[in-house]
Point group: C2
Chain length 121, copies 2
């Protein structure tokens, strides 16, 4: 059972966190042929932290989890904080394969996304 | 003369700001049939702020500027801070048309981008 766990920074502003949950729901509809389970979680400032998100995936039966950082740049959060929290949680689920995907800004598709948004100004 | 001004949050970490400059350069190569000028700037914590970025575009001859927020969520920075700084700067260039594009998370293409990154885990 494959799971996708979208991890955003988290905000004190509930609406921003809700947007991430909505994006995870859209993603679930979009990728149900590739991932059986999709959840979202946050690095900080929100109820569902990385450990909670991983637990949700495992509770749903995940044997493989792809952690997908919803971050634009390769700052400390992406290079250190997310790997730290993931590795710490991994120890509790030695039977589950957990990998971390690259941040969004590293993808060539970002250019298409930027051009699409620019055309909607 | 049309200009595209990519605006990121800005970071104390130089490398993060440099990534934005590189993305603006890639964007320039990608969209040179649609935009004559491409620059980047930052909301805070960097040398080139929004007013500086707009000035660069105008100095290069821009008559139309599309401000493109490099932000994932519609938080306060996108809904209030960027419009505030853009409107304040607009007053200095009444002959230039300046519009603000939607934030990245609002685009349907975000799903494609997320799926591409997930596949690279």
């Amino acid at each position: 059972m494959k799971a996708l766990l979208l991890i955003a920074h988290g905000s004190r502003r509930t609406q921003s966190n809700d947007e991430v949950v909505v994006i995870a729901e859209k993603l679930k509809q979009r990728c149900d042929d590739q991932y059986d389970i999709v959840h979202s979680g946050f690095l900080e400032l929100a109820d569902t932290l990385i450990a909670d998100g991983i637990k949700k995936c495992v509770d749903d039966g995940a044997t493989e989890i792809t952690v997908l950082p919803y971050f634009l740049n390769s700052g400390r959060h992406v290079t250190e904080d997310i790997p730290h929290d993931v590795n710490k949680t991994k120890a509790h689920y030695p039977e589950v394969k957990i990998t971390i995907a690259p941040h969004l800004g590293s993808s060539d598709l970002m250019m298409d996304l930027l051009m699409t948004c620019a055309s909607k100004a």
